[in-house]
């Protein structure tokens, strides 16, 4: 197993995953001969750490590269450049980008994903026993009767009745199907779960139940989450720290409360201002300047700061120079030339 010892020194004690200089470029083909005509920089020079036991939230408009990051961590995609260090449950540190298939198979037991669509992500022809037990069978963990016991235990853990094992997914509501997906993800005792828009398709009342479940499981099992969503109220509720993405880049990283009450990046300010709140008087009083324009074409990323065509504070320097992601006080990072001098508005805790 590749133990990157010199890297191991660089990874902090409280870090589970360290993503360093990660790039993922997709070639774009077009024309008659399907020649390569360009590339999409889905993930462009991303660096951040996910700490053990925390929930790290990723937000940003669609197409900003959130799902690609989750897929890179789980090695569903191979990196174009960079490295992703993972602290295994046995304490060793591995660079998952350099692992062979056999080693990666081992690591996958420790990292799982839960998906947005509880309808299409479960095979309709498999019973709940088969669905939840499948990861155990694939990894050859336990006899059939042991697997049955484990599935019953997992169902109880996610608040479903173990008697349901012989039913098919169609007999369950959307929220219950998602719990089945969660039970399946937990089967092999992972330390890390990436939840990509996991509650986005659920109704308000059901989403709240499942969010509570995810938080309870985190507490009981010591899980670490990467929580991807476009719902800023939800991400604020669940995340310890948040990363804001735009066009494949991280614009800002920091602790949730500080970031949302006092954003340092104009894009974070714009996202927060755009959210309509369940508070009609507040909406009327808040000055809600709608962000102009749309996210740029991922094949033609603007020069300088990628946000400059939409940024109300942009000047000539922003058009010419790419700002670096810099560390600022309070464990925060920001990618804006003027982070210190701008006085941005967040959402105040009432």
């Amino acid at each position: 197993m590749t133990v990157a010892s010199e890297k191991a020194e660089a990874i902090q004690d409280d870090t589970l995953i360290s993503i360093r200089g990660a790039k993922k470029y997709f070639p774009v083909h077009g024309g008659w001969l399907r020649k390569k005509i360009g590339e999409v920089r889905a993930v462009d020079d991303i660096t951040f750490d996910i700490k053990k036991g925390e929930t790290f939230g990723l937000v940003g408009e669609s197409g900003s590269g959130k799902s690609s990051i989750a897929r890179l961590i789980l090695r569903a995609y191979d990196l174009t450049e960079g490295e992703i260090l993972f602290r295994r449950s046995n304490g060793s540190i591995v660079d998952i980008t350099s692992l062979g298939d056999r080693e990666m198979r081992e690591i996958r037991r420790e990292m799982q994903m839960i998906f947005q669509d509880p309808y299409s992500s479960l095979n309709p022809r498999m019973t709940i026993l088969d669905l939840v037990g499948e990861p155990l069978t694939i990894h050859g963990v336990g006899s059939p009767s042991e697997i049955e016991d484990r599935v019953a235990e997992l169902l109880r853990l996610v608040g479903l009745r173990p008697e349901y094992v012989s039913r098919y997914p169609h007999a369950f509501s959307g929220g219950q199907r998602q719990r089945i997906g969660i039970a399946r993800a937990l089967a092999l005792n992972p330390s890390f779960i990436a939840a990509d828009e996991a509650v986005s398709a659920l109704d308000v009342s059901v989403a709240a139940q499942n969010i509570n479940l995810l938080q309870d499981l985190q507490e009981q099992l010591g899980l670490t989450y990467l929580f991807i969503t476009h719902d800023l109220g939800m991400v604020e509720h669940i995340s310890d720290r948040i990363g804001v993405m735009y066009l494949g880049r991280l614009m800002e990283v920091g602790p949730t409360e500080e970031m949302f009450s006092n954003p340092l990046h104009p894009y974070t300010e714009a996202l927060l201002a755009a959210v309509p709140q369940p508070d009609p008087r507040g909406n009327r009083e808040r000055k809600r300047v709608a962000l102009k324009g749309e996210i740029a074409d991922a094949m033609n990323i603007p020069t300088g700061c990628p946000f400059h065509p939409r940024c109300p504070y942009a000047d000539s320097k922003c058009k010419a120079e790419v700002p670096a992601l810099r560390s600022v006080a309070g464990g925060r990072q920001v990618r804006c030339h003027y982070a210190e001098s701008l006085d941005l508005t967040g959402v105040a805790a009432q």
């Binding site: 669609s62 509501s173 009342s205 938080q215 755009a274 709140q277 009609p280």
Partner: protein
């Protein structure tokens, strides 16, 4: 109950009284719309909010007479005041009647979550708007094209002179949404029915579209029935709100009444379960127990009773609650609504 015999008050644009739409299915009868009553006045924005499956879309399609083939009209009346001032009983019209074809597009516009349900992929944006204009107005092709460009400008489409000759697949999601709005507004409707038009959009584009709809509504004075499952969106755009649950309107009131003095336990519980941005951080979200029952097994009495914290055995599970009307006009369908009078939602 039904006041079909009294004429509509002068300010009234649309009124539904005790509307029922059923779907006969192998598993049983789905009462998708189970006695829905709501109204909208000229120039007003009515928000319809509720979880999925509560009957919001089936009701809207029923107003347009565009229900699925299997749908059964099972009673009630839908009345609409035309531009001429005359009242039509929409509920007795057929899908393809002359009146309905004239109303759709000319007096009532509709927009959807997915723009491609309204836009044709094989015609340019301009052609589609021109067709609608020429169908309802006696205008030349050149005038219709000028109108198309005017409408694209009105919906703040970038480069309208260029976009008019483009096909929908050339446009981004937000621009398609604008094109669909332009099409719906082609003949200056007095009523726009918007069914989850911002649900698939990013918050930034959603904010732009909400802003656009509000300014168009004020400029053109049209009324909007705005359907959504998102309480933030409804708080932002609506003047009045109707909350739906399992095929019924459980509460109606002004937007401030619904958000600050809800008088139905379902509305109260839903509002408590939404994490508010910048709100006080609680570790756990408040929830409503259980899930929305499947439509074949709607609970008797008050259909919310199995999930209601205030349910009283022997009453709530037996008798359908009446509409309790408050002096301010707020209506709650709950046996105990009177007792919540002074309770504000925390």
């Amino acid at each position: 109950m039904t006041q079909t015999n009294n004429p509509l008050p002068p300010e009234r644009l649309l009124q539904l009284d005790d509307v029922n739409v059923h779907f006969p299915m192998r598993e049983g009868l789905v009462k998708a719309v189970n006695g829905v009553s709501y109204h909208i006045n000229r120039g007003e924005v009515l928000g319809i909010v509720g979880e999925s499956g509560s009957g919001k879309s089936v009701t809207a399609r029923s107003i347009m007479r565009l229900q699925p083939k299997q749908a059964l009209d099972a009673g009630g009346s839908i009345r609409f005041r035309r531009k001429s001032g005359e009242e039509v009983l929409i509920s007795s019209e057929d899908r393809q009647s002359r009146t309905m074809r004239d109303l759709r597009g000319n007096e009532i516009g509709m927009i959807f979550q997915e723009p491609m349900t309204a836009l044709s992929p094989v015609h340019t944006i301009g052609t589609q708007i021109m067709r609608t204009v020429m169908l309802h107005r006696n205008v030349s092709k050149a005038d219709a094209r000028a109108r198309a460009i005017e409408l694209l400008t009105k919906v703040q489409m970038p480069r309208p002179n260029d976009i008019v000759d483009r096909y929908p697949h050339h446009l981004s999601g937000g621009m398609r949404q604008r094109a669909m709005i332009a099409l719906a507004l082609a003949c200056d409707p007095t009523l726009l029915i918007a069914d989850e038009p911002t649900t698939a959009l990013d918050v930034t584009t959603e904010a732009q579209i909400l802003h656009l709809l509000k300014s168009l509504q004020q400029e053109l004075g049209m009324a909007i029935v705005f359907i959504t499952h998102n309480f933030g969106v409804v708080a932002d755009i609506a003047d009045r709100v109707a909350v739906m649950y399992l095929g019924r309107v459980v509460e109606t009131g002004t937007v401030d009444e619904i958000f600050y003095e809800p008088k139905h336990p379902y509305t109260q519980a839903l509002l408590r379960s939404i994490p508010k941005l910048g709100g006080q951080k609680a570790r756990r979200l408040k929830t409503i127990s259980g899930t929305v029952p499947d439509p074949f097994n709607v609970p008797p009495g008050c259909s919310f009773h199995p999930r209601c914290m205030r349910a009283v055995g022997g009453i709530c599970n037996v008798t359908t609650p009446p509409e309790v009307r408050f002096p301010n006009g707020q209506i709650s369908r709950c046996h105990f609504a009177e007792e919540f009078r002074s309770e504000a939602a925390e």
